[in-house]
C-alpha cells in the first residue's frame, strides 16, 4: 500500500467536516438565493492568501481574519450607502482578488498555488490544517444553531421578525460572519470552484423534497459525503484531478434528478388531462 492508513484517516475526517459545513451553509445561501456569495467570499479570501504568502505566514491564518474583516466592512458600507447585496458581492469578489494578485506579484515562485486555490488539494492536507478546520467548524456550527430560528425568521419575513423583537442587523452580521468563516475553511479542502458546487447542488435538490430544515441539513450532508467520496474514488481509479471529478459527478447527479423529476411531472400532467 503506497498511501498510509493515517493519510486516509485525515482525508475521511476532512471530508466529514467539509460535508457537514457545506450542508449547513449551502442550505441557507441557496434558500436566500445568494449562491453568488460563495464565489465572492472565496475570491475575497484570495486577498488573504496573497498577503499570507507575501509575509511567509500560513495562508489560512492570515486569510481567516483578513476575509472576515474585508467582507463585513464591505457589507456594512454597502448597507450604509444603500448598494444592493448583489453589487456589494461583485465588489468583494473583484477587490479581494485584486489585492491577492498584487501581493502575489511581489512573491516569487507561488504561481503553482493558484491551481490548488481553484480546485483545492485535499490530498495535501496537513494535521495542522485539520486541527484549524475542526476548531472553526465547531465555532461555525455552534453559532449557526444558536441563531437558527432568527435566521429562518428573517429569511422568511424580516419585517415581522423586527416587530417581534429580533435584532435584524445583528443577526445579519452574524450570518455573514459565519458563512465567510465557513467558506474560507472549505477553500482549503476543495478550492473555490468545487466549493460553489458543493454549496449549491445538494440544497437545490433537497429544498424540493423536504418541509423540514433539519432533514434538509441531514440529506445535504449525506449527499455531499457520497459525492465527495465518489469523486475521490473516480480520480484515484482513472488518475484524474480530484476537484474536477467531484464537480462532474455532482453535475451528473443533478442532471439525472432534474430529468427524472420533469418526466414524472409530465406523466402526471398527461394522466390528468
Amino acid at each position: 500500500m503506497i498511501l498510509g492508513y493515517k493519510f486516509f484517516q485525515s482525508i475521511i475526517i476532512a471530508l466529514l467536516l467539509y460535508s457537514m459545513l457545506a450542508s449547513i451553509i449551502g442550505t441557507f445561501i441557496v434558500l436566500r438565493r445568494i449562491t453568488y456569495i460563495s464565489g465572492g467570499i472565496s475570491h475575497a479570501a484570495f486577498g488573504g492568501i496573497g498577503i499570507g504568502l507575501f509575509l511567509s505566514l500560513n495562508p489560512i491564518l492570515v486569510t481567516i481574519p483578513f476575509t472576515i474583516v474585508f467582507v463585513l466592512t464591505l457589507f456594512f458600507l454597502g448597507k450604509k450607502l444603500k448598494i444592493d447585496d448583489d453589487s456589494t458581492i461583485s465588489m468583494i469578489w473583484s477587490l479581494g482578488m485584486s489585492i491577492g494578485i498584487i501581493f502575489l506579484s511581489f512573491t516569487k515562485g507561488y504561481s503553482g498555488y493558484f491551481l490548488g486555490y481553484l480546485f483545492g488539494n485535499i490530498l495535501s492536507i496537513s494535521n495542522f490544517d485539520l486541527k484549524i478546520l475542526f476548531i472553526f467548524l465547531i465555532i461555525t456550527i455552534i453559532i449557526f444553531f444558536m441563531f437558527l430560528k432568527e435566521l429562518v425568521f428573517i429569511l422568511l419575513d424580516a419585517e415581522y421578525a423586527k416587530i417581534t423583537g429580533v435584532n435584524n442587523n445583528l443577526v445579519d452580521t452574524i450570518f455573514y460572519f459565519v458563512i465567510t468563516l465557513g467558506i474560507i475553511i472549505m477553500i482549503k479542502i476543495s478550492g473555490v470552484i468545487v466549493n460553489i458546487v458543493f454549496l449549491t447542488i445538494a440544497p437545490l435538490i433537497t429544498k424540493e423534497l423536504f418541509t423540514d430544515l433539519y432533514k434538509m441539513f441531514l440529506f445535504n450532508f449525506l449527499f455531499n459525503l457520497i459525492l465527495s467520496f465518489s469523486g475521490i474514488l473516480i480520480s484515484f481509479i482513472f488518475d484524474l484531478p480530484t476537484g474536477p471529478c467531484m464537480i462532474i459527478v455532482s453535475f451528473l447527479v443533478f442532471l439525472i434528478y432534474k430529468i427524472i423529476k420533469n418526466s414524472r411531472q409530465s406523466v402526471n400532467y398527461k394522466s390528468t388531462s
Binding site: 434558500l31 436566500r32 438565493r33 444558536m146 441563531f147 430560528k149 432568527e150 429562518v152 425568521f153 429569511l155 422568511l156 419575513d157 419585517e159 415581522y160 423586527k162 416587530i163 417581534t164 423583537g165 429580533v166 435584532n167 433537497t206 429544498k207 423536504f210 418541509t211 423540514d212 430544515l213 432533514k215 434538509m216
Partner: protein
Amino acid sequence: MNEILIEIKNLSFSFDKYIVLDNINLTIFKNELIAIIGPNGGGKTTLLKLILGLYKPLSGTIVKKDKLKFGYLPQKSNYIDFPISVKDFILLARYRGLFKKSEPMDNKKLFEILNLLNIENLAKKRLKNLSGGELQKVLLARALVNDPSIVILDEPTSFIDFKAQSEFYDLLEILQKKMSIIFVSHDLGVLSKKIKRIICLNRRINFDGNLDKNMEKIMNRMYGFELNIIDHKDHKIL
C-alpha cells in the same frame, strides 16, 4: 374614558421628498375596531408601519403603552420557497430573539386559533403550496398567535372569497372583545358592517368617526367618484 394604547401627535413622514403623511393626530383606545380607508398612495400602509415601529417618524411622536404586543398581517405576502410547514411558520411569531424570553410554543393555543379560522387542515402543509386565500388566513392566524393587545391588518380581505369575507367581519367582532383592531381595506363593503370608527386617509386624516352623511361628501371629494350611502334598517350600505 377607555384606556389609551397609542397616541399619535403631529406625525409626518416622507419618502425622499414626497410627503406621504402630513400632520397626523390619532388616538387608539383599548378594544377599539378601526377601519382605515383611502385611495392608493394615501399613506395607509405607511401609517401602519410607523405604528409598528418599522419606520421612524420624520417629525411628531407616537407614544405607545408599555409592553404593547402587536399582531400584523402585511399587505405584501410573497414568501420564498422555504421548507417550512404552516404550523412552524405561524409559531415563529411567538419568537422574541435569542436573548429574550420567547412565549411558549404550545400547540393548544395554535390549534385554538386554527380552529377559529377553520384552517386546521393546513397545519402540516408546506407554506409555499398554499393558495392566495389560504395564505391570507394563515397570515391572520400568525397575527393572532402571540395574544396581541393590538392587531394590525393591511388589506386582510383582498384574496378571500365572499363567504370568507363575511366570516371575517364576524370574526372581528369576536376578536374585538380581546384586543384592538386596526385594518386597512379597499373593500368599501366594510362600511356596511358594524364598524364604529372609520378613518379616511389621504396624506391627511380627512375623516375620523362614525359613518354619516358628512362622510359621504368627504369620500366623494377624496376619491373624486360619486358614492351614496343608503340607509337600511340594521346598518348602512354604501
